[in-house]
Symmetry: C2
DNA sequence: AGCTAAAACCTACGGGTATTAGGTTATCTG
DNA sequence: CAGATAACCTAATACCCGTAGGTTTTAGCT
């Protein structure tokens, strides 16, 4: 009886691959065990439970996304940086749908704090807008706009939510133009300071 | 043995309520049957399967959202219409989270075609931007921007994705300003006609 | 080489959900 | 009131998660 040589890392990687195939919400310990030729219960030696497995996939996926985002924005500024960032994110969402979904999974703050990937995504997100010269809190507002728009767009794109015949690529380009314009002309209102 | 008096509609309504409680992805035939004091299998007389039940909830929820959106935009134009639309959507997402999730469920085109709610949501979405005078295909691009942003924002808000201490309401207001500005200054490029 | 302890697996359950098949009973209608 | 229909039921299959406790392999140490 040759052993599969399981380890938490290999299980996580297999789970990430499975997520890309069947969707992050549909990964199953049983399917993983089948893939390894192993009994379901054997996986519990390497992973606490399904939830734990998902978190591990999320952390690993965040690392990969962070790499891509960083590579796509270093040395760029303004619209170039914006487009590089957005396109890298979109590429990731389309080519690794399961891992992308994993990065959006709500996890405990302490997990995020301990996840280098999540930290670097945050950092890169803030940094890539440097060229627009937005002061806080406008910068955070702008980032929330970008995150919302991207996440919503990718979700709609993935679920076939764009029923209209208009070319999705053209819409994407137009949206990036609009976002660049919004960032360029962001109205920094003189509001009270918020905590 | 008094009967529960089940019907497809009552089951759907109960499912919608359950979705608001535990999340649309977590509705379960077993839980519904428990609530009615009935065996699981009994529900299959009124609903084909879980998928069918979800679609029914989606159709019903779309009707409710369509009502709210229409009420929030009739007689308004420009920023007022935009804000009314967006806030009505957000209110719905926050007060009826399960039903809101249901409206985002990917369903077959023929289901959408037969769902008055979905149709009216589309119509209202297009109509509420009339004041901005956008020609096609810019109008469709703009609508895709709005849908993406709203959907992403609500998802992030619901999942606690906004970790930063910045007040979410303030960000929301700033984002609406930015979107209004983007729509007002939308760059209608002279591109080739797309199908 | 031989022993040992940890790591890698297993079987056996208990519990939950989806779905089908085939029956039974209340309720409506002609 | 009889028959049809709608509203139920039990039973069984098939997955899935998770726990408990046991067995085998592997690696390290003497």
């Amino acid at each position: 009886m040759a052993r599969a040589g399981l380890t938490a890392d290999r299980v996580t990687e297999a789970a990430a691959d499975l997520a890309d195939e069947v969707g992050f919400d549909n990964i199953t310990l049983s399917a993983l065990a089948r893939g390894f030729g192993v009994a379901d219960a054997s996986l519990y030696s390497h992973v606490r439970n399904v939830r734990d497995l998902r978190v591990r996939v999320a952390v690993r996926a965040a690392r990969e996304l962070a790499d891509r985002l960083a590579a796509a924005t270093t040395g760029r500024a303004g619209k170039e940086s914006l487009a590089g960032f957005a396109n890298a994110w979109r590429d990731f969402a389309k080519s690794r749908p399961g891992r992308y979904q994993a990065t959006q999974m709500p996890v405990e703050p302490d997990v995020i704090a301990g996840s280098g990937g999540h930290q670097r995504i945050m950092a890169t997100t803030y940094a890539h807008l440097n060229g627009y010269g937005l002061p806080e809190p406008a910068l955070t507002d702008a980032i929330r706009l970008l995150r919302s728009t991207y996440q919503g767009f990718f979700a709609l794109e993935a679920s076939g939510g764009f029923g209209h015949p208009r070319d999705v690529e053209a819409s994407w380009a137009a949206i990036l133009d609009a976002l660049d314009s919004a960032l360029t002309h962001w109205r920094v209102s003189a509001e009270r300071k918020e905590p």
